[in-house]
């Protein structure tokens, strides 16, 4: 089968793909808003994953907390003279440090859940499009049913059944999200299946697995990327909401949502900073990812562009 790779159409396709990728990247960064969003997301990811390097204290190491520093407003200094730019919570925890650690949990959950859901949904979608018949109708009925139910409701009921935990939140988010990918991939694969290059690949006696993974799936990538970007933002926001409602991550690994929840009671008595700043970071994260997704959709799918 090595000759296949040397066929002119194939090599031309690869070259075309290369130059198209470069053109799309250039097109993407022509938008200042998208560029700013990308830099923001990259910075947040770096700061979250190397959080210990950026923070003055480990917010969950109890030996580093001093109850005397509790509930200090932003700008106040601690007992030991360090300035708390974003204030502290009731246990004397620096909010800025807690935000970076919380962001790490939020991003991990969002990215992992999206990656797993993407793989699962893509496989189910491709199988559904390729096998057709009753398998396809059954999968699509399940997808329709699931997409007709609001994600927050499904995730909440699942977590009520599973209990708390990072793995359980990820599992619930995967169950909520896979249907979006399955539907997107199935639609794209159905179009690609009828394309001439697939027919040509069949004439070359390529196996179904080879056709699907080497030829059909790469051509389904643009819609998958667009859906995945939007879903990462959605997953992060949903995890925060679930944690706020008390059905998300455990208390030992608080995400941004749980930090916001822990400041809820203090907010009502005017100590706004515990809930406000983690929320600002959450909004910037989700908003910047959504802006990236918007730009990706414009660049990758000219038909959907404004």
């Amino acid at each position: 089968m090595s000759t296949v790779d040397q066929l002119p159409t194939e090599t031309a396709g690869v070259e075309e793909g290369e130059s198209m990728l470069r053109r799309q990247v250039r097109e993407y960064f022509r938008s200042p808003l998208a560029t700013a969003a990308t830099i923001t997301v990259a910075t947040l990811i770096l700061m979250a994953f190397f959080a210990p390097l950026f923070v003055p204290q480990n917010p969950y190491d109890l030996s580093q907390l001093d109850i005397m520093d509790g509930l200090l407003p932003p700008g106040e200094s601690t007992y030991s003279g360090r300035v708390l730019w974003l204030g502290s919570d009731e246990q004397g925890r620096d909010i800025y440090s807690a935000i970076l650690f919380g962001l790490r949990t939020s991003l991990t959950v969002g990215f992992l859940a999206t990656a797993i859901a993407c793989m699962l949904g893509t496989i189910i979608g491709v199988i559904s499009a390729y096998v057709g018949g009753w398998v396809d109708s059954f999968v699509m009925r399940v997808v329709d049913l699931q997409l007709s139910l609001p994600s927050i409701l499904v995730a909440l009921v699942l977590l009520a059944a599973f209990g708390r935990g990072i793995d359980k939140v990820i599992a619930a988010l995967v169950i909520v999200q896979w249907a979006y990918y399955a539907r997107t991939v199935r639609a794209a694969a159905l179009v690609e299946r009828g394309a001439e290059y697939v027919e040509a690949a069949r004439c070359l006696m390529l196996s179904n697995t080879q056709i699907v993974f080497r030829h059909v799936l790469p051509n389904c990538m643009p819609p998958i990327i667009v859906v995945a970007t939007a879903q990462i933002a959605h997953a992060i926001a949903l995890e925060a909401t679930l944690s706020f409602l008390g059905a998300g991550v455990p208390v030992t690994q608080p995400s941004l949502g749980m930090l916001i929840a822990s400041g809820y009671n203090y907010l009502l008595s005017g100590q706004y900073w515990i809930s406000t700043y983690p929320g600002v970071v959450l909004v910037i994260t989700v908003g910047a990812i959504n802006l990236m997704g918007d730009r990706l959709r414009d660049v990758l799918n000219p038909r959907l562009a404004n």
Partner: protein
């Protein structure tokens, strides 16, 4: 038309049974309610007594068929915590949630559609671009945090409206609702704004896309060639035609408004169904959780059906599949 409605209703019953099974199995896995309900120092025999009284000692399939046959008669079991019929508890809270969802939908349409039409007519203007960026942030604001900020600004700092709870209802034409009293509206305003903002962002996008599409149609070009004023073209020809996608989206989203009310009600301590669900989950009150989900699914199914029918009534081009006559 009648055949269509009957067939859709038939489908809906199957969906309900499927959901009932899923919900029942999922909820069955939630903790052991006996340990939370019985007193701390209860003996094993006493625990067994509680289990027997609640019917939890029987196999799950027996519990499910009992549940189904009772559900068909409108009995979804008794709340473990309140000792009252679960369905009654949920339905008592339903009007509060419905008021919230309806006011939010109203706000979403009256704010989202005009902004979307403006952005669609002037896509490259500063205002048009600003509206679109604003709508992206509208999508990105997590509803619960946005609610906290609304409370902080309007209830704690400015003290314009109360931070939570439900006001005294008023009467209008024999209907009792918090929508008809000033106190009720004051309590509803902040939660409704909070619930609507996501839908405002969504409707901006829908209305903008529809406006851009409609503005290029031949009948709009013709109307302009005929010398109609811009006002008339926008208010009559464009607005009428973009209502079709707007109503479709709104129909689909009304159900999700009721679901997302869970978050808003929790933030604002608003006594609706959603707050009841969260309380019931933390108290492992299974019958109430199941009753909430069944009521919500029935509402979803009805809303989808009504949206389909309204769609056909508004757009004469739509023929209901298998209905024979057009609506």
């Amino acid at each position: 038309m009648h055949a269509y409605v009957i067939r859709r209703l038939g489908q809906s019953v199957f969906v309900l049974i499927a959901i009932a099974l899923l919900v029942f199995v999922a909820i069955y896995a939630i903790g052991d309610p006996v340990s939370t309900l019985a007193p701390q120092d209860a003996t094993t025999a006493e625990l067994e007594g509680v289990r027997q009284r609640l019917g939890l000692d029987r196999p799950i399939y027996v519990q499910f068929f009992l549940f189904l046959s009772n559900a068909a008669q409108g009995d979804l079991g008794r709340s473990f915590v309140y000792g009252e019929p679960a369905l009654k508890l949920v339905l008592e809270r339903f009007p509060a949630t419905l008021e919230l969802a309806l006011l939010a939908a109203f706000l979403a349409v009256t704010i989202g559609v005009p902004l979307g039409v403006y952005a669609g007519l002037r896509p490259d203007s500063l205002g048009g671009r600003g509206i679109m960026v604003g709508s992206i942030f509208g999508f990105s604001l997590p509803s619960f945090w946005q609610g906290l900020m609304l409370i902080l600004i309007f209830a704690i700092v400015l003290r314009w409206v109360p931070a939570g709870g439900r006001g005294d209802p008023g009467m209008l034409l024999g209907l009792q609702s918090a929508l008809f009293s000033l106190d009720g509206l004051r309590h509803l305003l902040l939660p409704a704004v909070n619930l609507s903002l996501f839908k405002v962002a969504l409707l901006i996008r829908v209305a903008r896309a529809a406006t851009r599409e409609v503005a290029l149609q031949d009948y709009i070009v013709f109307a302009r060639a005929k010398g109609l004023s811009r006002t008339r073209i926008v208010w009559v020809h464009i607005l009428k035609n973009i209502m079709i996608p707007v109503i479709t989206v709104l129909g689909l989203e009304l159900g999700s408004l009721i679901a997302f009310a869970i978050v808003t009600e929790t933030v604002f301590a608003y006594p609706g169904m959603g707050k009841l669900l969260i309380d019931s989950i933390s108290q492992l009150d299974r019958p109430v959780i199941v009753a909430y989900l069944m009521v919500t699914v029935v509402v979803f199914v009805l809303i989808n059906l009504l949206a389909d029918l309204a769609y056909a009534a508004i757009d004469p081009r739509v023929r209901l599949a298998g209905g024979g006559k057009s609506a």
